[in-house]
């Protein structure tokens, strides 16, 4: 049974096809209004989530399907000690497709290995979150009209940010991509992403700790939060935290068509005064996430029927 646990489970052709379907859904929502009639999505969320769960549920409703929902480990059989494998087998008897979020890394893979229906990973700890990457890709595509020949800046916590690693993996499959990696020394992209993805594929990149000087060259700026708990000492955190807060004054020399993204939730890394800037795309990302989840649910249910 085909599941999507990691963005690498999807080929570039499949990502392109999902983008096309999502764009068609946006243009022709009525065409898809009953596409998943009598189908049930089980959303198994073993840790708190607002956007992702609602996005999956809204996606299924807009496809004419129904939703079975489990939220919080405390209200499910997991509280009685049921394994992820048994939960997946059980839910396979009720639903047609599963979207699962779990605090443990690899939990979605265990579910997929045991379910007899498709499983979509809606986040497994700090590991993978492929539908966020699909949302990011649709946003870039809609804002820039292409994936190729773009200079993409990633700013903030590039070490622990799962969305950063996945998007680097996906976007560098396209030609003419340049990366600018903006982070404090402590939060640089880990070696396995730099070596296995960026260097191995000869992707031009630069690393810097200076957001202000990097901004003018960017077509896309992907912001993430610099978290206090990631630093070894308070002094370093206090020294660096404000460098990675995006404010209108830092956008003075940015391109007129810069696309500013953030996987959300934000805390203070993008000032609310940036929200009115037409280049702010982070709330569009949320909406695009729903369309890509619709496209993915459709694809996996169609494949399952075959």
């Amino acid at each position: 049974m085909r599941s999507v646990i990691d963005i690498r489970d999807l080929s570039t052709e499949e990502i392109d096809s999902l983008i096309s379907v999502a764009l068609d859904i946006i243009d022709n929502p009525d065409k898809y209004a009953e596409a998943c009639k009598r189908k049930k999505l089980a959303t198994l969320f073993f840790e708190p989530s607002t956007r992702t769960r609602l996005s999956f549920e809204a996606a299924m409703y807009e496809l004419g399907g129904n939703v079975l929902s489990v939220t919080g480990a405390g209200t499910s059989s997991a509280a009685k000690g049921e394994s992820v494998a048994d939960t997946a087998k059980t839910v396979s008897c009720y639903a047609d497709i599963i979207a699962m979020r779990h605090p443990k890394e690899g939990a979605a893979l265990v579910a997929a290995n045991n379910a007899s229906i498709p499983v979509i990973n809606a986040g497994d700890g700090g590991h993978n979150h492929p539908t966020q990457t699909l949302a990011d890709l649709l946003t870039i595509h809609r804002e820039k009209g292409r994936f190729s020949d773009l200079t993409v800046g990633f700013c903030g916590d590039l070490k622990f940010g799962r969305t950063v690693h996945s998007l680097i993996n996906a976007i560098t499959r396209y030609p003419g991509i340049k990366l600018v990696l903006i982070s404090p020394e402590e939060l640089k992209v880990p070696g396995y992403v730099k070596n296995d993805v960026i260097i191995r594929n000869n992707i031009p990149y630069e690393e810097t700790n200076d957001l202000l000087s990097a901004i003018p060259k960017l077509d896309v700026l992907y912001m993430t939060r610099v978290q206090r708990e990631r630093f070894f000492n308070e002094e370093d955190y206090l020294r660096l935290k404000d460098s990675y807060i995006l404010e209108p004054s830092k956008l003075t020399n940015a391109k007129k068509d810069l696309c500013i993204m953030h996987p959300l939730p934000r805390v203070n890394e993008i000032s609310v005064s940036v929200d009115d800037d037409p280049r702010a795309c982070y709330f569009k990302q949320v909406l695009n996430g729903k369309y890509m989840r619709m496209a993915l649910i459709l694809k996996l249910l169609e494949e399952a029927e075959k």
Binding site: S83, V84, A85, H102, P103, K104, E105, G106, A107, L109, V110, D124, G125, G126, H127, Y192, D196
Partner: protein, 140 residues
């Protein structure tokens, strides 16, 4: 046990110096009721120094374990005091229930019936990663 001559058993040779104890441990030889000789830092023309393990019993050994720790080691099967078969080992593509994932956030830490699976992700640098959370394998 005379470590110079084994009648029926196994000699794991050309082990990189310092790796014999790890192989001994991961093969579970410490739990078997057999005579085992671990010879460390033997002079070797090829390696400079090497380790050797001699097992004085015809027991099955997991070649994947040896290949994981030292793909350059060789395994010799001795029958009636004669070398009857010599194996070279290779890094296995997949390791099952040999080592455990050390990532406290990995699903295997709370669901202990799951098989511990590691995949070879970088042959050149001998990197294995957990199949579930992709944490790099640590053999210590």
């Amino acid at each position: 046990m005379n470590i110079d001559s084994i009648k029926d058993g196994i000699v794991i040779d050309h082990i990189k110096a310092g790796c014999a104890m790890k192989i001994y441990e991961l093969l579970g030889l410490d739990k078997q009721d057999v005579s085992v000789a671990i010879i460390k830092n033997v002079s070797s023309r090829k390696l400079g120094k090497k380790d050797i393990i001699k097992v004085d019993a015809d027991i099955p050994v997991d070649l994947d374990v040896i290949g994981f720790i030292d793909p350059d080691a060789t395994v010799n099967i001795i029958k009636d005091g004669v070398l009857i078969k010599k194996y070279t080992v290779d890094m296995p593509e997949k390791l099952v229930n040999v080592i455990s994932c050390k990532n406290p956030r990995c699903i295997t830490t709370c669901e202990q019936e799951l098989a511990q699976i590691f995949n070879l992700t970088d042959r050149e640098n001998k990197v294995y990663r957990c199949a579930y959370c992709e944490t790099k394998a640590s053999i210590n």
